[in-house]
Symmetry: C2
Subunit: 324 residues, 2 copies
């Protein structure tokens, strides 16, 4: 039987394709390259390995009995960790967490600065050709920053924020442990409320799990001071949007910026559209739109492909019980 | 005769006022605190020292014969370096360059990321409640960054941009020398054109002088590649706006972001309002609107006040021939 590898990934460049062809050859596989938006079942249902995304990846997981390894070209694999997501429970699942941190960190820092520097107000002025006077602005310098999530994204953020001379950078994660030296302090999630009391800027980059659902709820928001800012580039359901919207409407927070929401695209009747001091972006903080992200994504798959062929443990294996 | 110090500065906090009162007492001066927007000539024309800004500072420089030291609470003192700006040519002139770098660097990085991440397009979508799909984005990571101006602003920028893992950070300045270790390379201004050829992101923070006027002109712009970005947080007349507008209209540049323009407020008929891929802000990158900037500004004046009283050389003296 031919050993088939189906690559169902958007925005793949010639040089990435070449890398995959070479790695596949070394590993003994014949790759086919498919467009995730225009692919028919017969092209991938016989593949032993799938690297990619979209409805095809989901369908293959749920229905294929020859699929032995699915490498998701994205990071948020919560949907693939639910019971029944795979026809064959022993199919290996890896993801591409580690490729998106750079892009997500840049997006989060941009949004934090836009809020602190009152950019939406100045932009509205410029659109109306009005030259607004200076107004009070905040700064990352001397701010207490809390990064909720200390994985690839949190670590990329901590390293980038260091140079802005914050008062301190606190990491909060499940284990309360993290090796990244750019953090000043690390706490376990059960200390979150206490940490939020001294936080000026909270940036969230958590996966969607049972434990993280609505982790930023009314109780946590009420621990924050009215000059504080919230940014979320992780998963939408980690924030209770009603509670966030209320806090912003009642000026209990200075601002929030969300790239992810509980339902995407954001429904027409969502109160978030009209919430003051809220910046929204349509889930574009981390996509295969930045050269570095695409190349790193490809490299990570190729690394694991060679390991798979040799029977070695995969580097980017998802812990399906944890959900990430 | 009473030794009078007039403080004509906006947004002065109680703690700053207290610092100035203490330093003035030690130096043997009686400070008066005046509102730059509502001050009468008789309040400051008899002052030996003025710390501040606005029309009053200009008038005192031009007309007072008792003024011995003017400390400008801003950085761009070009208007005070012109012949005739001072009635008494021996009046000392200091400025507050060094207080604004943090704020200007944050603003410049915010604007660079907004361009690279296509933020204006996504913002327009959100305003119209449209959920736009991802589109190609650029990243600071692996970009060649040129900082034209390596003083306080350029150095603050270099230290902050380091963590974003650019390909390299090049500094360009008059002397071709700079002690800040966050730069990878430093060139003198006569190498600018050559440096621009490899630049992905140019950030300008130059003072307004005879040498810097229209330093970014058609010749220099034509050396840049069509994927490059320009940010200016220095002085407006360092860019030939007609040439910049043409380059953007003809897609010879990917984007530009200006906090400063040749004429401010921007005239109603300026072509910049309608230039594509151009982000404008109304000269708000560095004002006395950020706590850190205000406090540092006050500290710098107090340092020099004590030195002035002891007859020591002032730390923040302006080189009136150079213009900064």
């Amino acid at each position: 039987m031919e050993k088939k590898l189906a690559v169902i990934r958007p925005a793949i460049s010639d040089s990435e394709q070449e890398k995959i062809v070479l790695a596949a050859h070394d590993a003994g596989y014949t790759p086919v390259f498919l467009d995730p938006k225009n692919v028919s079942e017969s092209d991938y249902m016989d593949a032993e390995i799938i690297y990619g995304e979209g409805a095809a990846a989901k369908k293959a997981a749920a229905e294929s009995d020859v699929l032995r390894w699915l490498c998701a070209s994205f990071a948020g694999v919560d949907a693939f960790c639910r019971p029944g997501a795979f026809r064959n429970e022993s199919t290996l699942l890896t993801n591409s967490a580690g490729a998106y941190g750079v892009s997500l960190a840049e997006h989060a820092i941009m949004m934090a600065l836009m809020m602190m520097r009152r950019m939406p107000v100045f932009e509205e002025g410029i659109r109306n050709r009005r030259w607004l006077p200076p107004m009070p602005q905040d700064s990352i310098k001397n701010s207490v920053i809390t990064l909720l999530g200390t994985g690839d994204v949190g670590s990329c953020l901590a390293r980038r924020l260091r140079g802005f001379e914050p008062a301190k950078i606190i990491g909060v994660c499940r284990s309360g442990r993290c090796r990244e030296p750019a953090f000043d302090e690390i706490f376990a999630t059960d200390r979150l409320k206490e940490v939020l009391g001294e936080t000026d800027l909270l940036i969230m980059s958590l996966p969607a799990t049972v434990q993280t659902k609505h982790i930023l709820n009314e109780e946590m928001l009420s621990a924050m001071h009215p000059g504080a800012y919230v940014v979320n580039v992780g998963r939408g359901n980690t924030i209770d949007e009603k509670a966030l919207s209320a806090a912003l409407n009642e000026k209990r927070l200075a601002g929030a910026a969300l790239d992810v929401m509980e339902t995407e695209p954001l429904p027409e009747d969502s109160p978030l559209w009209d919430t003051p001091n809220l910046i929204l972006t349509p889930h574009v903080a981390g996509n295969l739109t930045v050269d570095y992200t695409r190349n790193r994504n490809t490299e990570m798959f190729c690394e694991d492909l060679l390991r798979y062929a040799k029977g070695q443990p995969l580097l980017h294996l998802v812990d399906r019980t944890a959900g990430y």
